[in-house]
Symmetry: C2
Amino acid sequence: MSSTLKDIAQRTGKSITTVSRALNDYDDVSPKTKALVHRVAEELGYTPNLLAQRLQKHRSDTVGLILPTFGPRFSDPFFSEILAGVGNQAAECGYDLLVSTQAPGEKELEVYRQKVQGRQVDGFIVVRTRCHDLRIEYLRGAGIPFAVFGRTAGKLDFPFVDEDGVYGMRLVAEHLAGLGHRRIAFIAAPPDLMFARHRLEGLREGLAMLGIPLDEDLMVGGDLTQKGGYEQAGRLLDRPDPPTAIATGNDLMALGVMSAAQERGLVVGSDLAVTGFDDIPLAEHSHPPLTTVRQPIYQIGRQVCRMLIQLIRGEELEQQHVILQPSLVVRRSCGSTPPQMSPL
Amino acid sequence: MSSTLKDIAQRTGKSITTVSRALNDYDDVSPKTKALVHRVAEELGYTPNLLAQRLQKHRSDTVGLILPTFGPRFSDPFFSEILAGVGNQAAECGYDLLVSTQAPGEKELEVYRQKVQGRQVDGFIVVRTRCHDLRIEYLRGAGIPFAVFGRTAGKLDFPFVDEDGVYGMRLVAEHLAGLGHRRIAFIAAPPDLMFARHRLEGLREGLAMLGIPLDEDLMVGGDLTQKGGYEQAGRLLDRPDPPTAIATGNDLMALGVMSAAQERGLVVGSDLAVTGFDDIPLAEHSHPPLTTVRQPIYQIGRQVCRMLIQLIRGEELEQQHVILQPSLVVRRSCGSTPPQMSPL
DNA sequence: TTGAAAGCGCTAACAA
DNA sequence: TTGTTAGCGCTTTCAA
């Protein structure tokens, strides 16, 4: 059914070696032979057995990506976009993408180990970093190439791309303050996630710089889901002294916040300001459209993947560390006039 | 850095063969030798080279999944859930998952071919079927195992799992009719997708059975995105004779419909009924919570993957064709009282 | 310009 | 119970 070099060798009367070299376009093969070999290869529908090639070359031409996800009802746009970015970049460079989903915890490192030891991947992409990230420690120790989306609290001696979450949330703080808000709540992302820390820090700094008092009771934790945002917002809004603005650590939670507010008869944009972070596609067409901080996840995915491949190939990295400046996307969830006439 | 059978053989003074058999727990190896080999393997941190194993075994222990996605701003919860389902099932069975994203079109089959010919995968999962699906024709012709989420308009001589979209939309029709709606619009999914056809058919049948006239002008096409739903709903609502209910071919579009309605000052649930299809996580916490048809995507992903693996292993399939009955999830977007007290 | 031979790391048939 | 031999499909010295 599937032909090999041997088949071509037999048909052409050449040796396997010659066939191999002809196919790989070595210049020590006569043009005539090359043409012959190529023709026969075509006829036979030859495709190299990548497994064999890889065994011999000691590379898998595959990058690994393990999505740190929880449970069956998993549907974080962040992962979709990062996957598309990494996947497309890998494909363009001729690499395969090996994907796994594995919740953070005990078994997580085992999966990394297994893929590394079994030589199934040439390198890893790590996404959604934790402050102390065992995955990174493991990969560093294993001496295998890896590139990271995000930073950690420890030594940043690895290649990464990250967005400047501190700056992003400072923009939010300024925006809300500029609109006159003084009681600002924040539904943060889980504190073990590094980006959560940055975003929280950015908000704190921003408010401090503007001289706006910060009520610790209004700083609550969230789980990144719409449901989580909904629940936390409910609690915040049901307080005797509810906030006038609720900022969140990601868009999904912001959508939940809006639902909770609307359920209570509040008009988002006038009775309550809401902001998100990420600018997922859903943010643009929510009601009202969500004011948020734009993080080009897809592009970051591509860039991290490109970094990794350069690393694998032993090329010099143009930049070892990339920190992107996010921008505020003002829509209508804070009641300010959006820059465009219509959200479309 | 990484040890091989040879290393263990040298250290133990045994032959490579014996080591291999000891490690694979053959019963023609003395317990003593086994123990020795295992100990040394442990010491050396031995992990088999999967590439070598696979070459020799003529299997890749990998299943392929190519997400038929469009463009960079890709974020369809459908894909996230199917990915999680397939991925988890594959992992449980000891299979790797090779993922690609590739928009439908010219180059699509090339990607399938490449993975098949290169022996990179033992089989494929096909998702989001088209009425005439070239991917399926190719795989059928290539004689490689595959299992499908969805059906086609052609001969159903392949293993698949699908949901009964006709039935699902009939439930929607009944629900809306029961609430008194007579002018019902439908924003369909792209007509080349098989599930789109089923759902449209279900709505038509349902309305016909109930004796409700169907206005062809209210049957419009959508692109599965929230934005698409938003735009189409805008047109429908701006008509001189707008519908009182808008059903959609998937949840994402329904969310867009709600935005468009709310932007026009309509109250979803009283001024306008909206329904979706899929029951993605977002549907539960939208505002108002979305009445939709529940399709257990994650579970289907698992099941399709299990099927494929059985096929690969040459096991008998319990069922070649599975069609699941979806159920209506009544929330508040149609104004009916939800069955529970609160959406939580 | 070409081919023989070795080897990547592993498994399996066959002998001993 | 163990080792020898061969081979998966490919690439790469090294000689011819």
